[in-house]
């Protein structure tokens, strides 16, 4: 996967965010440089307090940038007026961590999807057409529109809510999707569904996905490139295989040794013996086949 052929989609130079003044000054994001190419799936990995969520909010234009520049599609980003912001948000959208707080509990689900159709300039469409679009979006995430319509968000499960968030992205078809820990509040069994849908969406629309996570395993599993953040700084970045299998930065190395693993030994594991290559790649295989 060579980046030269690809179009530069979102990049930043010296992006910094400082909260507070004087004594109570906190540098949440510290002179971060990045260049994301269109169609890529990038993971930003960091533990709590690494500034990854602050970076996301700056990329989304929800909070101001203290210092540095963000470039969108090769141009310097200009979101000074509400209209320009609205235009920017047609190109960049997000899925947040907690599906339960992502919805306005006073609004029906239809309103969320209708907003997306309206944002894409579909305000004048007939009611039938709108319903058709919403049905299609729901079908994409394996939900039935008939079961969703006229319901309030609290009537859905966490997994369903997060799928509906993906349906929203399906309707908006932005160039960039920022997924801020979209699976951390969801059960492991539903996690695969959410990830599959994101991959499907990427395949269909060719959008770039920026995946924010604290789970280095998840980052390795889903992404092309990985950025590791520590205390507001990007300490290492590169292709997923490079960073995870051959870490250079101390922090990445430590992170990787501290994460409990299955096939490789872990420091305080009950099982000290490392798995053989054969065992590792043949699993999951029955260990005792006698019945």
């Amino acid at each position: 996967m060579s980046n030269e052929k690809k179009e530069l989609c979102l990049s930043g130079t010296g992006v910094t965010k400082v909260f507070g003044f004087g004594e109570r000054k906190t540098v949440a994001v510290d002179h971060v440089d990045f260049s994301f190419y269109s169609g890529e799936l990038i993971s930003i990995v960091g533990e709590s307090g690494s500034g990854k969520t602050t970076l996301v909010k700056m990329l989304l234009g929800l909070i101001s940038v203290t210092e540095g520049d963000i470039f969108f599609m090769g141009q310097k980003r200009d979101i000074r007026s509400h209209r320009k912001k609205k235009e920017y948000w047609k190109g960049i959208q997000a899925i947040f961590q907690d599906p339960f707080s992502s919805y306005n509990i006073f609004k029906k689900i239809d309103a969320v999807l209708l907003d997306c159709i309206h944002m894409r300039g579909g305000r004048g469409l007939s009611k039938e057409k709108k319903i058709e679009m919403m049905t299609e979006a729901c079908r994409f995430v394996n939900l039935k529109y008939e079961e969703m319509t006229n319901k309030y968000p609290f009537e859905l499960s966490g997994g369903q809510m997060q799928r509906l968030m993906i349906a929203r992205i399906f309707l908006l078809k932005p160039k960039i999707l920022l997924a801020d820990e979209p699976t951390s509040m969801i059960d492991a069994c539903s996690r695969a569904t959410i990830l599959d849908m994101l991959m499907e969406l990427r395949k269909e629309t060719g959008m770039m996905i920026i995946f924010i996570t604290h789970d280095i395993g998840l980052a390795y599993y889903v992404s092309d490139s990985v950025y590791i953040m520590e205390r507001g700084k990007i300490v290492e970045f590169g292709s997923a295989n490079e960073v995870i299998l051959n870490p250079k930065a101390e922090y990445t190395k430590r992170l990787l040794t501290d994460v409990p693993k299955i096939h490789e030994p872990w420091e305080f594991s009950k099982r000290k013996r490392p798995m053989t290559q054969e065992e590792r790649f043949s699993s999951p295989q029955p260990i005792n086949i006698e019945v």
Binding site: R191, S269, R280
Partner: protein
């Protein structure tokens, strides 16, 4: 076989909601934990694993209610004892319990040594301040916690330190069994490793004889425990050694759960994650027959009606599925 430390027979408990409905969160659960072994409990949120942890203490308060079953710790049954008796003589002494947000339970206005005094005095009112301090200091040093932590307030400690302090305080009386409910889920991986190291040390040094560890993070569970139980909708659906459960799950639900494991290791990128469609049943009115049947890929007509017993298999394994083992293995192999 080692000495059985904890034996649970047909334990059932329920919650009673504000509207008087019963939520049957733990349903006919039986298992044994031997000395020196640790048992892991895995499952989706809402499967009853945390409720089971609460129920094991034998200390019931609204909205949790006891229905039936026995909890036998080292030969003595605690399920039919008076709550005050349990609180005074069992908790801390025989069982230590660490909930997920334990680190937030420390009163910020008290020094750590005060909590230790409280724990020890609850069981031995005559203990002197000096004795308690010496004991605490010794224990903290063995567990690699700086002794000056004793004189600090909870707010001065980081999240990981707080959690380790809580574990040290709650095991100060060397209980027979430690029940840890997601003790490291709220922490970052480095602090998580420190917490695990401490639990590991407690076991190695014999301060606790056995442990029940509850988490939804399967790689962690695999590394920490000897045996794993998978819970679904208030019931145990499968039980086996950690290796068996992670690499060779039998029950279709465990199979799905193990297929969702992600670890940063070479080769994992090529494995397709499995997903289980649907949502767990409502425990106010669990379905007849197998509770997993509505979401099961391998479901058969009789699954929805027949009652499914928990069957013991060879090697100390057990599973709750009416489809024969050979048939399941055949189906799994064909999928690969």
């Amino acid at each position: 076989m080692g000495k059985v430390i904890l034996e649970v027979n047909h334990l059932s408990t329920k919650y009673i909601t504000r509207f008087g409905e019963g939520v049957y969160a733990v349903n006919d659960v039986s298992f044994k934990v031997e000395e020196g072994r640790s048992l892991g409990i895995a499952g989706e949120s809402g499967c009853g694993k945390s409720t089971l942890a609460l129920s094991l203490m034998g200390y019931y308060f609204a909205p949790l209610h006891y229905i039936k079953g026995d909890i036998i710790i080292d030969g003595s049954n605690i399920s039919n004892r008076h709550p005050d008796d349990v609180r005074k003589n069992v908790l801390g002494n025989e069982i230590a319990y660490i909930p997920q947000a334990a680190m937030n339970a420390l009163n910020p206005t008290q020094r750590i040594i005060r909590f230790i005094e409280d724990v020890i005095r609850a069981h031995n009112p005559k203990a002197t301040k000096g004795d308690i301090y010496d004991l605490a200091r010794e224990r903290f040093e063995i567990l690699n916690l700086p002794a000056d932590t004793l004189q600090k307030h909870a707010v001065e400690l980081s999240g990981g330190m707080k959690q380790r302090t809580v574990i040290a305080v709650s095991t100060i009386l060397s209980p027979k069994i430690l029940i840890a409910d997601e003790p490291s889920s709220a922490l970052d991986v480095t602090s998580q490793k420190m917490v695990i190291k401490m639990i590991h040390d407690l076991m190695e040094l014999g301060y606790i004889k056995s442990m029940i560890f509850i988490t939804h993070e399967l790689p962690l569970l695999y590394n920490v425990t000897d045996d794993i139980m998978v819970m679904y909708a208030g019931q145990i659906v499968e039980r086996g050694s950690a290796d068996q459960m992670i690499f060779d799950p039998l029950h279709p639900y465990s199979k799905g759960l193990m297929g969702s494991i992600i670890v940063p290791e070479d080769g994992t990128r090529d494995v397709k994650l499995t997903a289980i469609p649907g949502t767990p049943p409502n425990l106010k009115k669990p379905p007849d027959g197998c509770r997993f049947a509505p979401r099961c890929k391998y479901v058969k007509p009789q699954c929805k009606t027949a009652s499914v017993p928990f069957e013991e298999l060879c090697d100390g394994r057990g599973s709750r599925c009416i489809i024969p083992e050979t048939e399941l293995r055949e189906a799994y192999r064909n999928e690969q």
